[in-house]
Amino acid sequence: MPDLSINIAGIEMKNPLTVGSGTYGHHGNFNQFFPVETMGVLVPKTVRPIEWPGNPPRRVIEVPSGLHSSVGIPSISWEQFEAVDAPRLRDLPVPVIQSVIGRTEVEYAEVVARASALNAFQGLELNLSCPNLKQGGLDFGYDPDAAYKLVKRARQETDLPLVAKLAPDYSSLVSVAQAIEAAGADAVALVNAPRAMCIDIETLKPMIGNGVGALSGPAIKPMAVYMVWTLYRSISLPIFGMGGVANYKDVIEFMAAGAAAVAFGTVSYVDPMALPRALVDLETWLVEKGIDDVKSLIGAAHGSDFQRPAPLKEMKHAV
């Protein structure tokens, strides 16, 4: 049997498969279609330190090969999260990386400290890329200086591995990722869903309640693969790759581009057994190819001579 295990920033994963934050398991149920420990690590939906109803309906629209959505991270109060969700997550037989978001640098630091203190998680993911919020998320994910300061501050609040989740904006991607690495993040996750819009030709108005929304699903996969490929060449951090992943072939493609772990996102809404099926298929494929360690796929598309950049200790561009 091939070795499927992956270690990212000290988090031991028994295989490289995970889920995109916000796309798998809610209402406290992470076992609804298959045992949660099938995956290497669980990334539950982003939490924020304030209660928030989320964006107005309509929130989801089907588009060719994908989903246009604007949910806006509806959130229960922190007290409820602490009392109900955190104990459940702590007891799951799988490592958990909890995604968090704030509206300001201070709020991010606060939520990192509070989440860290719960002793329920093996890592924290900083959501620097939600496309559907008025404040927070992209304010930091598009701006290397802001991202640097935010990660540096968050770093002081926790000893847990910190993953920064990035937006697929090519114009700032490399500089933001380098800033994040210099600030002390342990890994990056990409891509979050890019911003998108659908317009109703009868009313001539945007169709989604929030006006602007996101695009996810297979429609964005080639773009996401390219972004992972780009970051593999620009920073030294391990990468959680995602964007339209639907089956084992997509997993291999993302790993070859440079991902050390691969997340199933929107596809789970439609095909909730996609992840466990991909795991079986991946293992079969590795056996057929005579590959005995899945880690050998990471970055394979860059060629055997390619060397990743050395770790960045300082901000490349002046703050």
Partner: protein, 264 residues
Amino acid sequence: MEQINASVVSNEPLTGEYWLLQVDAPSISAALEPGQFVNIRVSGEHGPFLRRPFSVYRVSSDRTRLQVAYKLVGEGCRLMRDTLRPGTTCDLIGPLGTGYDLPAEARTIALVGRGIGIAALPTLADLAASRGITSHAFLSARTRDNIVGTEIFSHHGGMVFLHSDDQPGGVTMVTDHLLAEASKIDFDAIYVCGSNRLIRAADTLARKLNIPAQSAMEQHMACGFGDCHGCVIEVNLDPAGEKKAYREVCHYGPVFNTWEVVNA
């Protein structure tokens, strides 16, 4: 809730613009409560991407098969009609959502449906009949041939009032019938599906009579099982409608109390 590949037993025209799909789904049929729904995937390599949610129209008496009555709306429903042939399988997830609440002490209930909303009511009529509860049906649609299931409701022995918009009086007649009957019959509960106007009428009547009223709601969905938070509607948190909140139709609904969804 589970995902299964159910064998298609039949898939035929029902009436008007509606088709009737019947599949073998013992575990889902056995667990299903009236008002719950299934989420069907009909998809080739290139879409459509999302599943399509449908009320369960009927469950066979041995609870091994379930039926979906569907209207030919767009690409998904046309693919259902064209690809789900006997001998093929249908990928479905169910049973989903929270269904109708039939109080144990109820003796007589009103079922009020319009258009495809009627498809959410036969399973409730069946359950009521099995408990010796009389159900009277008040059904409407744009045209007479788009009123589905009349024979199911009449089979259980209750009265069935039909009205189509192309008939003098139109849709308002259904609510008039309901009000007229309510002055003669003691309804213990009212169940609605199909239009905001029916919800308002049922809610007003239910408040006056001090009886429960519920309605099944629709919203565009991505997952159907509570994960994406995509299918919310705004609901009233109190009968006066002073506090409001978003609730996922696929999880807290599709059935809500009418006071939760009236003018929400």
